[in-house]
Amino acid sequence: MSADQFLQYLISGLTMGSIYALVGLGFTIIYAVTRIINFAQGEFVMLGGMLSFTLAVSAGLPLAPAIILSVLIAAVIGAIMYLFAIRPARNASVVSLIIITIGVAIFIRGIAGVGWGVDFVRPPYWTGSESIRFFGAYIHPQALWIIGTTLAVKVLLHFFLSYTMVGKALKACAINPRAAGLVGINAKTMALIAFVLAAAIGGIGGAVMAPLTLTSYNVGVMLGLKGFVAASIGGFKSPIAAVIGGFTLGIIESLSVGLDWGPFTSAYKDVIALVVLLLILLLWSGRLAEEERAG
């Protein structure tokens, strides 16, 4: 592998990694505030992409409002999910909550399949499609959008969590729900905000990636899983950890496809993410077990 090729794989790794990071951010936010792993997280990514296609191409809206509107719709669906599926299930066990979020995922995916059909679609590029030369490699403008959006979301999220009252309340809830309750923070409201935030971030990820990767009604499953891997590499600890986790996974995947050793063709790309997931989980099992006991 030449240096140029390496750079090329690095760039595509960073691009995919950004998407994983956005999904991972959603997982981390919901988990931190509610201790729920939201198996429907990938569906919000799917919704962001499919909605932006429908609004921008089928409905003929200008691109910017179409994107903003699809993110808003995804956020509203996140709120509906919390209010009608998560909140009524008070005191539910981990297993029940897992099944509930899977049920929601199946529900959303089912409606998407009926409404949009099974074909892959491609919303328009945000800006041009002419690749930009970057040292010996090329970057697609949309890839720049993807990486840039991820970084922007991360920075905005940081300011939101650190400098606004609601953001600080969310943080407090994540650190110690009981203490947060004692100072008058409503855990249910915070959980609602977490779901809305996670759904919106997923929607943004879906909208920005779809022009480059294409999208269909069932991309949510794999993206959700990759995002979860990103979040677990980050240990579900903090947003920045999830972003680093996403980049790491994207680069590992991209390089392993580039290496092309032995029987491992690109078809096994998804296996690599899964093996990384298992390794991470097992290596950190001791720590994770302690946290679960404490939380």
Partner: protein
């Protein structure tokens, strides 16, 4: 006196139920449902393993379809490609799948809750991708056909009618075996672990050891069911073993109620009837309704439909007997 009447009734009910099961595949009774019943029986075998795992260790497996698929593919490849006797193939499949579960069980069961769920999910997906990608062995996404029937001596299980009895024999056998395990020393140990792992370990129960044991048992059950599926359909394809398949088994176990072994048949039955019969009328909306039902059942009956029905029945019976003893 009351106890005797009650045991009488239980015996009678069991006999009636058994008679009902035997009569189902006859054409003049419910013959048109024979195939559905075969699938219910096969699903129930997987489900009872999952019931034991989830109900008695409190841990969920979202990758049970991996073991189901391993059983099916081992049976298919050995009996078709290598012309191994189907029964021997079935045995090898169960042993290999059980060994696989044993090897991965120890590291995986250091996890719990959400993390264990994700690890098993990952495992299930890895196996699913392998079933699809190792096309030289498995036939790839198109699957493989022409798997031989099972047979005893000259008696070939070549009709659904015959296979119905074969499948339900295995199904009831696994249920009885599981019932015995629940009532054995191991069963009590598992219940103790479910109650409090720390307390169980303090009285000398090796929690991880028992969890892995039950995990291996559930894998062997799933493998057995997979083998039966392969020899029933004479065809296997990766679609039967995807993530949704794993979720379906979890749903069956939950609807059947995790606390009861017999609930497995109920869970497998209702879920299969729902998805194979009732939802067919809804066309492509079936998945949507399925998802909605999952959420609703989990919100309102987290302990399962079977347990809920049993509760209602008990309450009704109590009122009935009370009225009778009131002179």
């Amino acid at each position: 006196m009351l106890a005797m009447v009650k045991s009488h009734w239980t015996l009678l009910a069991t006999a009636a139920l058994l008679l009902f099961l035997i009569l189902i595949p006859f054409d003049w009774f419910l013959g048109q449902y024979t195939t559905l019943m075969i699938f219910i029986g096969i699903s129930a075998i997987v489900t009872v393993g999952l019931c034991l795992l989830m109900g008695y260790t409190g841990q969920v497996s979202l990758g049970q379809a991996a073991f189901y698929g391993l059983g099916a593919y081992f049976s298919a490849v050995l009996s078709k490609t290598y012309s191994v006797n189907p029964w021997l193939a079935m045995l090898i499949a169960a042993a290999a799948t059980g060994f696989f579960a044993y090897v991965i069980g120890f590291p995986i069961f250091r996890l719990r809750g959400n993390y264990l769920a994700m690890a098993t999910l990952g495992l299930g997906l890895i196996m699913w991708i392998l079933f699809r990608q190792l096309s030289q062995i498995t036939g790839g996404p198109d699957g493989m056909s022409g798997i031989p029937y099972l047979s005893i001596g000259g008696f070939v299980f070549d009709t659904s009618f015959k296979r119905y009895f074969l499948v339900w024999f295995f199904c009831l056998a696994t249920l009885f075996m599981s019932q015995n395990i629940v009532r054995s020393r191991s069963g009590r140990a598992l219940r103790a672990i479910h109650g409090s792992e720390a307390a169980a370990e303090s009285i000398g129960i090796n929690a991880t050891h028992f969890k892995v044991k039950i995990f291996v048992l559930s894998a062997v059950y799933a493998s057995l069911a997979g083998s039966l599926l392969a020899h029933h359909l004479r065809f296997v394809s990766p679609q039967s073993f995807d993530f949704l398949a794993s979720v379906r088994f979890v749903v069956m176990a939950v609807i059947g109620g995790l606390a009861s072994v017999w609930g497995a048949i109920f869970g497998a039955g209702t879920t299969r009837i729902l998805s194979d019969e009732l939802l067919l009328g809804f066309g492509e909306w079936d998945v949507v309704i399925y998802g909605a039902i999952l959420v609703v059942v989990m919100i309102f009956m987290p302990e399962g439909l079977f347990v809920k029905l049993k509760e209602l029945l008990d309450r009704w019976r109590q009122r009935y007997t009370q009225r009778e003893t009131e002179p």
